[in-house]
């Protein structure tokens, strides 16, 4: 089946929900949306099976732009990496659509919601499937747009609309990098087709000067800091929690935020040659992982903790890319999608049961009131901290091992971030589900309907077992992921076993053991600290204040960037526009008026004056021509 149907099914769903039918009942809208996603999922399964048979799956849909020597096709291609992403996006997407049908059952415009959600899916799939960078960019912008639409879904509240704006504007700043990369590639390499690009960059005789790929890679990395919430453009993600929880789960946990990682993996040969960009990725990822984790330690809103956790985990993925392991990054993308979506959906279930209260300090004792949610949430928490043999364990340890190979310092820092993760996640878990109910809503909470809990259970299973596609040498030595993604770069990628690490078995056991031991200890410590939480203690410290206020990043940006720009804008409008340009305009107007007034004196209205002009003028002309000898 042609690849285009993966895009078309969600688009049709969006059209039905958004324009053509616009059903009023959430059940119908949700059904249409879920069917759109599920149909795409089925086609994706077909694609993956075709890929596993070694087929070359492409769909050259149409020639899009043809201007001079620039030819850009709207081309859909499925490489193994693409196939994996397709499964994640459509599979988890379908589950979230079904969940949302229950979550949004009392909303007043469900058709709009599901239309946006399907539109997002179509855009994300365009990003994933496109074989040309311009098509990827179209999907990139599309997911940005849908993110804005969905974050500000309840736009009657100004704060939600502002959060949507923040996300869009910040993403736009990042998109500048993407556009730069596109321009550089189109001008100096001559093509934006990914297959051709990778071929050119891998061929030493044909590849352009180093600065071209460096600039393109840097530009794409900048764009990734926007889309994938790294320092310095991560600021929109915590605010994005203003949107409905299914949105947070789908967009800001599983799919959109991994776009940056995906694009980097897709174009890996171009990145692999640029040491500087890779270093930036690693250190940036480490810094982001730490900053976000430190902020998550003191947050009271359940969704905010998860948001910062997402930023932190994305940092992990970029560290993996920075140390040269696209497989590791991709692995973590997949496992993170499973357990983070589960965490968000579980939080949504909690919020639903708490009648839309989100403050952790007002929860407590929910394990008795919401048993199913409790169990799945625990599974997800164990996965994220890397409890042995869960999916998170395998992906995180792969990244840690690769980090150790590259730089022990990086390893130590990353380990620290992982330990912080253990702490804040168990703090979250304990505050929400253990102890006594600290508010009325908590004591009257009830479990969510099956339409919401069923997807949770599916995701829980995945969170446990998805890790078995890639295990270390010492535990099973399964490398199905690695061998799967090998062929994703048209023969130009890392050599078949290029990612085989040089660690000895003992080292591997040692690292794994250290990580697990430390994580579990910290988790238990957090659990005991917060398991019998009675209420916030009044004491505060400098660190606590910094962490609660997210290290004042937004305030710093406001002072350093926003205010000078506003002042500049005001200066421009008042002085340059108001005085200078208006002055010039008035000057020329005044000149015209003045000269008109001067000249109008000639219009005396007096007959003899006009006769005077005639006589004098004719006389002068006659004298002049006579002196020139015309009349001889």
């Amino acid at each position: 089946m042609a690849l285009r149907w993966i895009l078309l099914f969600p688009l049709i769903g969006a059209l039905l929900n958004g324009i053509v039918w616009r059903p009023k009942k959430a059940a119908i809208a949700g059904a249409i949306g879920s069917l759109g996603a599920f149909a795409a999922f089925l086609v994706s399964c077909g694609v993956v099976s075709a890929l596993s048979n070694g087929a070359d799956v492409t769909d050259a849909w149409f020639t899009w732009i043809q201007a001079g020597r620039i030819k850009i096709d709207f081309l859909l291609e499925a490489t193994p990496v693409t196939g994996l992403m397709l499964m994640v996006v459509t599979g988890i997407g379908t589950l979230i659509h079904i969940y949302a049908a229950g979550y949004m059952s009392h909303d007043k415009s469900p058709s709009r919601f599901f239309a946006y959600l399907n539109l997002f899916l179509a855009a994300m799939l365009t990003l994933v499937l496109s074989g040309d960078l311009v098509g990827v960019f179209m999907g990139w912008e599309g997911v940005g747009l849908c993110s804005y639409l969905l974050i500000g879904f309840w736009h009657e509240d100004d704060a939600n609309a502002a959060a949507g704006m923040k996300a869009f504007v910040t993403n736009r700043v990042g998109d500048l990098g993407f556009i730069l990369a596109l321009l550089v590639l189109l001008t100096y390499v001559g093509t934006s087709n990914i297959r051709e690009l990778l071929a050119i960059f891998s061929d030493p005789t044909k590849s352009p000067e180093l600065w071209v790929s460096a600039l393109a890679a840097a530009g794409l990395f900048w764009a990734s800091t926007g889309k994938s919430a790294q320092i310095p453009l991560f600021i929109w993600l915590p605010d994005a929690m203003a949107g409905p929880t299914p949105v947070s789960a789908l967009i800001h946990a599983a799919t959109m935020v991994t776009s940056g990682v995906f694009v980097t993996v897709r174009l890996w040969p171009m990145f692999a040659a640029n040491e500087a960009v890779l270093h930036a990725m690693m250190w940036g990822g480490l810094a982001t992982a730490w900053l976000a984790a430190l902020t998550a330690l003191t947050q009271r809103d359940i969704k905010k903790v998860l948001a910062y956790s997402t930023v932190s985990q994305l940092g992990f993925m970029f560290v993996a890319l920075g140390v040269g392991s696209p497989t590791g990054a991709l692995f973590h993308v997949v496992t993170h999608a499973c357990f983070k979506a589960l965490l968000f959906l579980g939080a949504g279930s909690v919020i639903h049961g708490m009648h839309h209260k989100q403050d952790l300090f007002e929860m407590g004792g929910l394990k008795k009131k919401m048993p199913v949610t409790h169990v799945v949430f625990l599974v997800a928490t164990l996965a994220i901290i890397g409890f042995p043999l869960t999916s998170g364990f395998f992906s995180k340890d792969m990244i840690l091992a690769k980090a150790y190979e590259a730089s022990p310092v990086a390893y130590v820092l990353l380990l620290g971030a992982a330990l912080l993760t253990a702490f804040y996640m168990f703090r979250l878990y304990a505050l929400a589900f253990w102890g006594t109910s600290r508010s009325d809503e908590a004591s009257h909470a009830h479990e969510s309907p099956i339409v919401m809990t069923a997807p949770l259970m599916v995701l829980a299973v995945l969170s446990v077992f998805a890790g078995w596609i890639e295990t270390p040498v010492v535990i099973g030595d399964i490398h199905r992921l690695q061998s799967w993604v090998e062929g994703s770069w048209y023969g130009h990628g890392p050599a078949a076993h290029g990612e085989e690490h040089a660690l000895s078995h003992a080292m591997e056991w040692g690292l794994m053991g250290l990580t697990s031991l430390l994580s579990l200890s910290i988790a238990y410590f957090a659990f005991s600290k917060y398991g019998r939480f009675k209420g916030a203690s009044g004491e505060t410290s400098v660190f606590k204040k910094l962490s609660e206020n997210k290290f004042y990043v937004d305030e710093i940006y406001d002072t350093v960037i926003v205010r000078p720009l506003s002042a500049l804008a005001r200066f421009s409008s008042d002085w340059i526009e108001g005085r200078l340009i208006n002055g010039l305009a008035h000057l020329s107007a005044g000149a015209a008026r003045g000269s008109g007034q001067v000249l109008s004196i000639l219009h005396a209205g007096n007959l003899q004056a006009y006769a005077w002009y005639l006589a004098a003028g004719t006389g002068v002309i006659l004298l002049m021509t006579w002196s020139l000898g015309v009349w001889k």
């Binding site: 003899q608 005077w612 006589a615 004098a616 004719t618 006389g619 002068v620 002309i621 006659l622 004298l623 021509t625 006579w626 009349w631 001889k632």
Partner: protein, 178 residues
């Protein structure tokens, strides 16, 4: 080249004097009468040049009708010589005369410097006889001739319209129409 006859010189002198009088007279009636004299003398000048028909027309129409019209209007407007000295008038006259003199200088230089020797003098007997002019009128200048008729007709109508604005019977008719 025929030489100037005494008759032509005297008539010319009288013409110029009368013209100057038109220019310089304070009393508008004197101005009007001087105009009549100038026009009459110009007619005499035409006779001296052998253009008898034109001379007759000049005396009949110009001196006999147009200047009389001027006298009528002077009487109608009851113009008196103004004896009040108007401030700033001298400056105005000076400036105006300046332009006039510049014009005169230019025109004079051009006219007097023009080569006239190439012309041969025509025969006064046949130059501007009524026969030759009539022949022209009925052949080459037929159209302008007819159009001039229309022109005079239009002028008469226009003069009547402009002139009768305050006719009382017309005013009554206008009031009834409102």
């Amino acid at each position: 080249m025929e030489s100037l006859s005494l008759y032509q010189i005297i008539v010319a002198a009288l013409t110029v004097i009368a013209a100057l009088n038109v220019l310089l007279a304070k009393n508008p009636v004197v101005s009007a009468m001087s105009l009549m004299a100038t026009l009459f003398m110009t007619g005499a000048l035409y006779f001296g040049l052998g253009a008898f028909f034109i001379g007759a027309v000049q005396v009949l129409i110009y001196a006999g009708a147009i200047s009389v019209l001027f006298v009528f209007i002077v009487m109608l407007l009851d113009m008196r010589p103004s004896l009040v000295a108007i401030p700033g008038r001298t400056l105005k006259v000076t400036l105006m005369s300046l332009a006039g003199l510049v014009f005169a200088a230019g025109l004079g230089l051009v006219v007097c410097g023009a080569p006239l020797q190439s012309m041969t003098e025509g025969d006064p007997a046949t130059a501007s006889t009524s026969l030759s002019i009539a022949a022209r009128f009925l052949s080459r200048y037929m159209l302008p001739f007819e159009v001039t008729g229309l022109l005079i007709f239009a002028a008469v109508m226009g003069a009547i319209l402009i002139g009768r604005a305050h006719d009382p019977s017309l005013r009554q008719a206008r009031k009834d129409a409102k």
